[in-house]
């Protein structure tokens, strides 16, 4: 009996150790990028244009570019995703069509990000002639985050109790009136959470914008949706692989990585916190 307990204690500490390794991996990343990135961080770094061929100056255009790309992606994906979720939860009956739609969503979620980039290149950049631009990049990113938005919206719609719908229908409301006035208002916080997580994802993606929107260097800030842009994730990659002064580009890359990490993780944390609150205490 005793030996069984010792064995159990050993195995449990092995399991615990796996958590320790994962946690230390996360902390290592946060630590190195935090400590080295914070050295270059300053008000000027965030608000100035790059100078002297990327070897000094700030990252303002990359911040603005990421902002535009992300907003564009969410404007495209949010209505699409919410409407799809409404169909799946409110209208669809279980059947072959729904099964097919689900397979479509699951597989879209599994498409490698660089393949989205190729799709964006062939369709938005070339076929529609949008060129390498904010528009092409935002649309491509929108497709990347679509499955995230659909799933989160579905989850939010499903937790609205069936009795709410029945009560509304019993009062003579039509299905659409019920969805618009009862279901959606009750699901809105969940849907917002989904879009927040989608924003976090879109802000950090690099491969989809590689050939559709991003450029290493622009002389002026973008003026229209047809301009190409700098973006935070691409900027990190470009600083590490292009340019002629790696030693002076590296600190800027650290700073950019810290800004991106801070941005994405705070967006995600807000999403996760709201979601957990929402799951814990439902109004009904």
């Amino acid at each position: 009996m005793k030996s069984k307990q010792i064995k159990q204690a050993i195995y449990f500490s092995l399991l615990r150790f796996s958590i320790v390794i994962i946690l230390s991996g996360l902390l290592l990343i946060l630590f190195f990028i935090g400590v080295r990135g914070v050295k270059v961080l300053s008000w000027e770094f965030l608000t100035q244009m790059p100078k002297e061929g990327m070897t000094s100056g700030g990252i303002l255009p990359a911040i603005i570019g990421t902002f535009y790309l992300t907003i564009g992606a969410i404007l495209f994906a949010l209505p699409l995703g919410v409407f799809a979720a409404i169909y799946l939860t409110e209208y669809a009956r279980q059947g072959r069509l729904v099964k097919l739609i689900r397979i479509g969503i699951n597989n879209l979620a599994g498409v490698p990000s660089v393949v989205f980039g190729l799709f964006g290149l062939a369709v938005f950049v070339k076929f529609f002639g949008f060129g390498v631009s904010i528009l092409s990049g935002a649309l491509t990113l929108g497709i990347v985050i679509l499955p995230t938005i659909i799933r989160a919206s579905e989850e939010a719609l499903l937790v609205v109790p069936q009795s709410f719908r029945e009560a509304s229908l019993a009062l003579g409301a039509t299905k659409w009136q019920t969805i618009r006035k009862i279901v959606l208002p009750n699901a809105i916080s969940g849907i917002l959470t989904g879009s927040i997580l989608g924003i976090g994802r879109a802000a950090g993606e690099t491969a989809p914008i590689l050939f559709t929107a991003a450029t290493f260097y622009i002389i002026r800030l973008p003026r229209s949706f047809f301009d190409e842009v700098q973006a935070l994730p691409y900027h990190i990659y470009a600083l590490m692989t292009e340019g002629t002064h790696p030693e002076s580009q590296m600190p800027i890359a650290y700073g950019t990585a810290l800004v991106l990490l801070f941005l994405v993780l705070s967006i995600d944390s807000v999403g996760i916190i709201i979601r957990n609150q929402f799951r814990k205490k439902k109004k009904w």
């Binding site: 796996s18 994962i22 209208y91 739609i101 490698p112 190729l118 802000a203 990659y237 890359a253 990585a257």
Partner: protein, 293 residues
């Protein structure tokens, strides 16, 4: 009557949006094949997939992607060697052993890991992990298959942990009660009843992790080293398919053989990931049926 028309119209508008995901997926397939198939007029499918040399810009060029496919497979295999033991142990711990308070910390940690952009992982691999490995193993370069595997392993972890954890938590309590009633300890119950019952769910998690690792682009582009040779050792540079596409598409003139060949690689990549995703879908459905949900 007017009302009913309107309701019907609205329903169909929603249906149209619900079909968008399928449209996009089909769109991707069409684009990949339209832009990728022309390469097979120049090389045979067999020579493309089994050809060992990739010199797309030489004259005459060589379009053999075996080294790239093997590069992807090696890196993914290495990542799994890290993600499976760590991920399944962590999921088991979180689901069955951890104190609720530990659980409340561990789950967000895993979610944060999922939230870190891949380019940041790649950057970390380049500036911290690669120099360290280069030092430890005394290598000419730290950008190797092993470096990419370690980073990718951590990137696949959130998928493996969260889906395995769902699967392990879904095992009915009555199974465990039956095991305890027979006098089994907690560990015996976990290792012989709970985890084996969740095995198809855990397999789903692993397969989705594979899909994640094989399709990951920025990390391997930055840390795998980029040598388009058939991999021989984990301590040498490799060049996975995704990295090849990302690195070369910018330079390949639209419509050139090189351009079509890169789309050809994307077809191979897409078919592999699609296969894994469909398999994961199928296994997940099997698991749900088994657990009576």
């Amino acid at each position: 009557m007017h009302q009913r028309c309107k309701e019907l119209l609205i329903k169909h508008i929603f249906l149209f949006f619900a079909l968008a995901s399928i449209f996009f997926l089909l769109g991707i397939v069409i684009v990949l094949f339209k832009e990728g198939l022309p390469i097979f007029k120049i090389v045979r499918v067999k020579d493309f997939i089994l050809g060992k040399s990739w010199y797309p810009t030489y004259d005459p060029p060589d379009f053999g992607i075996l080294a790239l496919i093997l590069g992807s497979l090696w890196v993914t295999f290495g990542a799994l060697m890290i993600a499976i033991p760590l991920g399944v142990s962590a999921a088991t711990y979180i689901s069955e052993v951890a104190h609720p308070r530990v659980k409340e910390i561990a789950k967000p940690v895993v979610e944060l890991l999922a939230g870190i952009p891949s380019v940041v992982y790649g950057f970390f691999g380049m500036v911290i992990l690669a120099p360290w490995l280069q030092d430890v193993f005394n290598l000419p370069t730290g950008l190797t298959c092993l470096t990419a595997s370690i980073i990718l392993g951590f990137m696949a972890l959130p998928t493996v942990v969260s889906i395995s954890e769902d699967a392990i938590s879904a095992v009915p309590f009555s199974y465990k009660e039956a095991s305890y009633a027979l006098g089994a300890t907690k560990w015996e119950t976990i290792s012989k009843v709970t985890v084996p019952s969740a095995i198809s769910g855990i397999t789903t998690a692993i397969i989705l992790g594979i899909g994640r690792a094989i399709g990951e682009t920025m990390t391997v582009l930055m840390v795998a080293g980029g040598a388009a040779v058939v991999p021989r050792s984990f301590l040498r540079p490799v060049r996975p398919m995704t990295a090849t596409i990302a690195a070369e598409m910018g330079e390949a003139p639209v419509g050139s053989d090189h351009y079509h060949a890169l789309f050809g690689i994307a077809i191979v990549l897409f078919i592999i990931t699609l296969g894994f995703n469909l398999l994961a879908d199928h296994l997940a459905a099997t698991f749900r049926r088994k657990m009576g949900q």
